[in-house]
C-alpha cells in the first residue's frame, strides 16, 4: 500500500472534524473523496499532508510512519497537495512559483528552471509564465497550484477541489490534465463536489459526513446509497455554497 490511514481523528476542542477515518491507497489509484460542506474532507487532507497533527490514529506512507512528521518531510517523501483556497505566491511569476516546487529535487537553478518549464508546458501555463501569480484568476491559480506540486515530483497528489469554479470548457481541459498526470505514474486522491469529475476520473470513492466515512465503493453504486443521499439531502442538498469551512 502506498498510503494507509488508520483511525485518523482530528478534534478542535470538543468538535470532531474528523473521527475515525480510514483510507488505503494503492500505487496507481485514483480515489475520490466526497461529502457535504464541513464534512471534514479538507481537515483529513491536512492530516495526510502533515499540515496538522492528527489527534489520534496513524498514517503510513510507503510503509513508513509519517503521522507526526513535518510538512517538509511529507513533501520530500512524495506527498503533494493543493489548497482549496489557492495559496499561490502572489508576487512571484508563474515560472518562479513552479520553480520553488522544482527546487526540491533539482537544487541547481538551471535544472530547476528546465524542469519547471516542462511542467508549465504540460499544464498549459506557457503564455502566462512571466506574469505574476496575482494577475491570474481563480481557475489559473488552481492550475498553478497543480503545476507547482507536480514540480516537486510527488508519488501521491491530494487535490482539494482543484477543479472547482471552472467553466465547462476549462473543466474538460482540467480533467484531461489530471488524466495525464495519472498516466505519468502519480497516484491521486481527489476531493471534489462536481460529480462529473468523480464519475469520470475515479474508480473508488469515499463519502465523508460529519467526520465519518459513511460509505465507500464504486462511484455509480455510492451515489445510490441511501445513507449518502440522506447525508446530502440533510445537509443542504443543492445549496452547497451555503457554508464554507475555514480550513482550506
Amino acid at each position: 500500500m502506498l498510503l494507509e490511514a488508520k483511525n485518523v481523528a482530528k478534534h478542535f476542542g470538543e468538535f470532531r472534524a474528523v473521527a475515525d477515518a480510514n483510507l488505503t491507497v494503492a500505487e496507481g489509484d485514483v480515489i475520490g473523496l466526497i461529502g457535504p460542506n464541513g464534512a471534514g474532507k479538507s481537515t483529513f487532507f491536512n492530516c495526510l499532508a502533515g499540515d496538522t497533527e492528527p489527534t489520534a490514529g496513524t498514517i503510513l506512507f510507503d510503509g513508513q510512519d509519517v503521522t507526526n512528521a513535518s510538512t517538509e518531510t511529507h513533501a520530500r517523501l512524495g506527498i503533494g497537495r493543493t489548497f482549496q483556497v489557492p495559496a499561490t505566491f502572489e508576487d512571484m511569476t508563474i515560472l518562479e512559483n513552479v520553480m520553488v516546487g522544482a527546487f526540491m529535487r533539482h537544487p541547481g537553478r538551471a535544472d530547476a528552471r528546465a524542469h519547471a518549464e516542462k511542467i508549465i508546458e504540460m499544464t498549459g501555463l506557457r503564455e502566462h509564465a512571466h506574469l505574476r501569480a496575482r494577475s491570474l484568476g481563480t481557475p489559473g491559480r488552481k492550475r498553478l497550484e497543480i503545476a507547482r506540486v507536480l514540480a516537486t515530483g510527488p508519488r501521491l497528489m491530494l487535490l482539494d477541489e482543484a477543479l472547482a469554479g471552472l467553466t465547462p470548457g476549462e473543466l474538460q481541459q482540467a480533467i484531461t490534465l489530471v488524466r495525464r498526470i495519472h498516466e505519468t505514474g502519480v497516484t491521486l486522491v481527489i476531493v471534489e463536489h462536481i460529480m462529473e469529475v468523480i464519475m469520470t476520473l475515479t474508480a473508488r470513492v469515499l463519502v465523508f459526513n460529519q467526520g465519518h466515512v459513511i460509505a465507500s465503493g464504486k462511484p455509480q453504486d455510492v451515489v445510490k446509497d441511501p445513507l449518502v443521499i440522506e447525508a446530502y439531502l440533510g445537509h443542504g442538498h443543492g445549496k452547497r455554497a451555503r457554508k464554507r469551512g475555514p480550513a482550506a
Binding site: A49, V100, R109
Partner: protein, 328 residues
Amino acid sequence: MKEATTSKIAWGWLALAAVFLVYPLVFQSAFFRDIGVLLLLAAISASAWNIVGGYAGQVSVGHGMFFGVGAYVPLMVFTHLGWPPLLGVPIAIVVVLVLSVIVGMPTFRLQGHYFSMATLAVAELIRLLVGTWDFAGAAIGLSGPAIPRGWWDLTFTSELPYYYIFLGVLATLLLVTWQVQRSRFGYYMRAVKAGERAAKSLGVPVRRTKLFALMLSAAFTSIAGSLYAIKTGFVDPESGFGILVSVQMLIIAALGGAGTLIGPLIGAIILIPLQTATNTWFGGGGSGLTYILYGGIIVLLARFEPGGLVELWNTYAPRRWRSGSHAP
C-alpha cells in the same frame, strides 16, 4: 523581449556604478564627499537588512544589535589589546552569527510578529547593558586610534579612501545578494515571505531558511557597523545600538523597495541627502526632526505604495521601461 530587458538592467547598473565611481572626483568638497560616504554606509546597512527583512519578509526592528556589535568589537580590540581595529571585524561577525541564532531559533518557530518584537526588545536590552558596561566604555563609548600606526589602522584624514572602501563593500554585498536571489535559497526566502504554509507543502525548510537569511543579513550588518566605527573612530551606545540605527535601515529599504536588489540603494540616495538637508537647515543634530521624517515616510508608504519606489515605478512607468516582474 526578455533578453532586451536583462541587458537594459545591466546597462543601468553599469551607469550607476560609473556615477558612484566619479562622484567624489567631481564633488571634491568635504561636505559632498561626507554625504557620499554616509550614503554608501546607509546603502550597505539597508541592503544587509533587506536580505532577511525584504527577501525573507522577516521584519527586524532591531538590526542595530548587529550594527552595534560590528562597531564595538573593532574598537574593543584596539582599546584593550592594541590590535588594529580591522582584526575585530571577523570576531564581530562570529559574535553576530551566534546572536542571530539566539534570537532566531526560538522566534522563527512562530509565525507573525514575534520575531519583530523580539529583535526590538533584544536590541534595546543590549543598548542598555552596554551603556553600563565599563569594558565597553559604558555611556561614554569607545574610541579608535587617533594617530594611525600604519595603513592597517585605516585612519585617514581624507574622506576619499573611505568612500572607495565603502563602495567596494557595497558592490560586493550587492553581488552576493544578486547571486543569492537567483539561487534556490533566494527562491525559498521569497516563498517563505509569500506564504509559509504553501512553502512548507512544497518542501521548503521554512525555519532553516529564515535562520540562514538572518545570519547572512546579520554578518553584513556587522560589517557595516565596523566600517562606521573604523571611519568615525568612535562609537557610543546610541550610535551603535540606538533605535534610530535599526529604524533607518528599515525605512531606507522600504522606501526604495524591500525585497529588491536596487531598492535599498534608491532609498539611501533619497533619504540621506534629505536627512542631511533637514538637519543642516533646521540646525542641530536634529534627532527629533529625524523621527518626524521617518514617521512621515512610513505614513506615505503605508498609504500609497507599500512596495516602495521600485513598485511604484513598475506600476506607472511606461511599459517599455519597466523591468517586468523581476525587480531591477
